[in-house]
C-alpha cells in the first residue's frame, strides 16, 4: 500500500453518518476540526498532556489527538457539539454555567466531554474521586474548584454521588 493512498472512513458523528477519505497520518482531532468542520474540539498540546481534545468514542472519553482517524472507522463519535439536545443544554453544560466553571473557555469542550465520560464510567463517588478522575484535563485559568463543583452537582442529581 502506498503511503499517500487515502483511506475511506465512515463514522457516526453526533448522530450523523459521515464519510471521509483521509491520509493515514490524520488524527481523529484533525479530522474533526479540518474535515468535519467541528472546531468545538480544541487542539491544546497535541501530545495527550492537556485533555482539550477529549471526545467520546462509543461513549468512552479519549484524547482525539493520540488516535488516527483510520483507527476509528465505524465508531460513534460525540464531540462538544453533540452534547446538547437541540436547544436544551446537557446538564453538565448548564452546571458549568451555573458554577462559573470556566474563564477563557479553551479547555471547556474537553472538560465537558471528559465529565460525561467520567459519569458514564461510574467510578467516581465523591469530590476527591472527581478531582482525581478529571485530572486528564488541564485548566490554565485555574477553574478546577468550580469544575469539580459542576461535575459533583450533576452526579448528585443523578444520585451517583453524595454531594
Amino acid at each position: 500500500m502506498e503511503p499517500l493512498q487515502k483511506h475511506p472512513v465512515r463514522m457516526r458523528i453526533n448522530g450523523q453518518e459521515r464519510e471521509f477519505n483521509v491520509e493515514s497520518w490524520v488524527t481523529l482531532l484533525d479530522l474533526l476540526r479540518e474535515r468535519a468542520g467541528l472546531t468545538g474540539t480544541k487542539k491544546g498540546c497535541d501530545q495527550g498532556q492537556c485533555g482539550a481534545c477529549t471526545v467520546l468514542v462509543d461513549g468512552k472519553r479519549i484524547n482525539s489527538c493520540l488516535t488516527l482517524a483510520v483507527m476509528q472507522d465505524g465508531r460513534e463519535i460525540t464531540t462538544v457539539e453533540g452534547l446538547a439536545d437541540n436547544d436544551q443544554l446537557h446538564p453538565i453544560q448548564q452546571a458549568f454555567i451555573d458554577c462559573d466553571a470556566f474563564q477563557c473557555g479553551y479547555c471547556t469542550p474537553g472538560q465537558l466531554c471528559s465529565a460525561v465520560g467520567l459519569m458514564n464510567e461510574g467510578h467516581a463517588h465523591d469530590r476527591d474521586d472527581v478531582r482525581e478522575l478529571m485530572s486528564g484535563n488541564l485548566c490554565r485559568c485555574g477553574a478546577y474548584p468550580q469544575i469539580a463543583d459542576a461535575v459533583v452537582r450533576v452526579m448528585g442529581a443523578k444520585g451517583k454521588v453524595a454531594a
Partner: protein, 340 residues
C-alpha cells in the same frame, strides 16, 4: 508526522508478517503517535492490531489470571477480579496517566512505552537511545527524572510505567508470538538494562508481538499490598519514584513472604529478591524494612539533579511497606475512584 503506510491486520499471523517487515504495531497509539509527531520514531509502516481479539481478562483455574495484550488499561484496572485478587496491579495502573489515556492504552502497549527522557524526545540533541553512538547529554545535564540504579555510561533513562512495576512484583509472564512461534518471557527478562545498547528497550525479537500477560496466583498478598507513587503533582505525572510492596503476614505479624519493586529509578522495574528474602521470618516493622531497603538500594547513586532520589526511594520503600502492613487500601493521598 512523516507519511507512512497504514495496514489493518486481519489476524495475528498477518500482524506478525507485517511487523517482521518493519511495520510498527499500533494498539492504543498513545505513545507511538506522540513519538511519531516528535520525529523520534519514523516507521515507514504501521500495522493496526486492534482487531485481533486478545482483549480477554480471565481468571485461570490455577488461581492466576490471563490479561489480553489488547485489553485496555482502564478495563484491566477496574475489572472486579483484578481488583479483588491483584489490588497492587489495579492501584499501579490507576496511578498512571489520565482516565482518557487509560481508556486508550493497551496492556501490551504499556510494556512497550518508551522513556520520557527529555533528550530522547528532543531530536535536536544527541541521545544514545535514539541515535546510538551520539552520546548522552543527561549524564551531566537535565537529569532530575533519571536513573539511580542499573544505569550505564551510555544511558541513564528510566522506564516510565507504573503498571510494569506491579507486574514485576507479581512475577508476571509475557506471552509473545512471532515468526518462530510462541514464547514465554518472565517479566524480569522482558525489559533490559541499557548497558552499551540503550537503543534496545526489551528482549522482544523482530516480528514478535505480545499476546497476553499471565499472572500467577497471588492471593497470599491480597490483604497487604500498596503502591506508592511520588511525583511533582498529585495526579497525572510520571513517577519520580514509585514502590510496589506486598506482604504475606502471619497472624502475629511475622513476614512469610514479601515483594518489593521500584519504578522511576532504572531502565526497568527494579527488584532485588535478596531484599525480600531479608524480610522473611522477621516481624513486620521499621527495623526489617530499613534492612530490606538497604539491600534494594545497594549501589544507588545520583547524577546531580536526581541525587534526592536515593533518600526518596528509601522513604518510599519504608512507607509502602508500612502501608502494606496496615492493609490494602489504607494508603492516604489521591483518590482513585471506587475505593477497594
Amino acid at each position: 508526522m512523516n507519511p507512512f503506510t497504514f495496514t489493518p491486520a486481519a489476524n495475528l499471523d498477518a500482524a506478525i508478517a507485517a511487523a517482521s517487515q518493519g511495520a510498527r504495531p499500533i494498539a492504543g497509539g498513545t505513545n507511538l503517535l506522540d513519538l511519531m509527531k516528535e520525529g523520534v520514531m519514523r516507521p515507514a509502516g504501521v500495522v493496526d492490531i486492534n482487531h485481533l481479539g486478545l482483549d480477554e481478562i480471565e481468571a485461570n483455574a490455577d488461581g492466576g489470571m490471563r490479561l489480553g495484550a489488547l485489553a485496555r488499561n482502564a478495563d484491566t484496572a477496574y475489572h472486579p477480579v483484578v481488583r479483588k485478587r491483584y489490588p497492587l496491579l489495579s492501584a499501579a495502573i490507576l496511578a498512571g496517566a489520565s482516565p482518557q489515556l487509560r481508556n486508550m492504552a493497551s496492556n501490551g502497549g504499556n510494556l512497550m512505552q518508551r522513556t520520557r527522557c527529555v533528550y530522547f524526545y528532543d531530536i535536536g540533541t544527541p541521545c544514545n537511545k535514539r541515535e546510538p553512538g551520539t552520546g548522552c547529554p543527561a549524564l551531566d545535564g537535565v537529569n532530575r527524572q533519571h536513573a539511580i540504579l542499573g544505569e550505564s555510561e551510555s544511558c541513564i533513562a528510566t522506564h516510565p510505567s507504573d503498571m510494569c512495576v506491579a507486574l514485576r512484583a507479581l512475577d508476571a509472564t509475557v506471552q509473545v508470538r512471532g515468526p518462530n512461534g510462541e514464547r514465554s518471557i518472565p517479566f524480569a527478562e522482558f525489559h533490559r538494562l541499557p548497558e552499551d545498547r540503550p537503543d534496545i528497550d526489551n528482549t522482544l525479537q523482530p516480528g514478535e508481538i505480545i499476546t497476553h500477560l499471565d499472572l500467577p496466583d497471588a492471593d497470599r498478598f491480597m490483604a497487604h499490598s500498596a503502591y506508592i507513587k511520588v511525583r511533582d503533582r498529585l495526579s497525572y505525572a510520571f513517577a519520580l519514584v514509585s514502590c510496589a510492596a506486598a506482604l504475606d503476614l502471619d497472624a502475629d505479624g511475622t513476614i512469610r513472604a514479601a515483594r518489593i519493586a521500584l519504578g522511576g529509578v532504572a531502565h526497568k522495574p527494579w527488584r532485588v529478591e535478596a531484599a525480600e528474602q531479608a524480610l522473611v521470618g522477621q516481624p513486620a516493622g521499621e527495623q526489617a524494612f530499613v534492612a530490606a531497603a538497604n539491600v534494594l538500594l545497594a549501589g544507588a547513586r545520583g547524577h546531580g539533579q536526581n541525587d534526592f532520589k536515593v533518600p526518596l526511594a528509601r522513604n518510599a520503600i519504608l512507607q509502602a511497606l508500612i502501608i502494606a502492613t496496615r492493609g490494602t487500601g489504607s494508603a492516604p493521598g489521591a483518590s482513585q475512584g471506587d475505593p477497594a
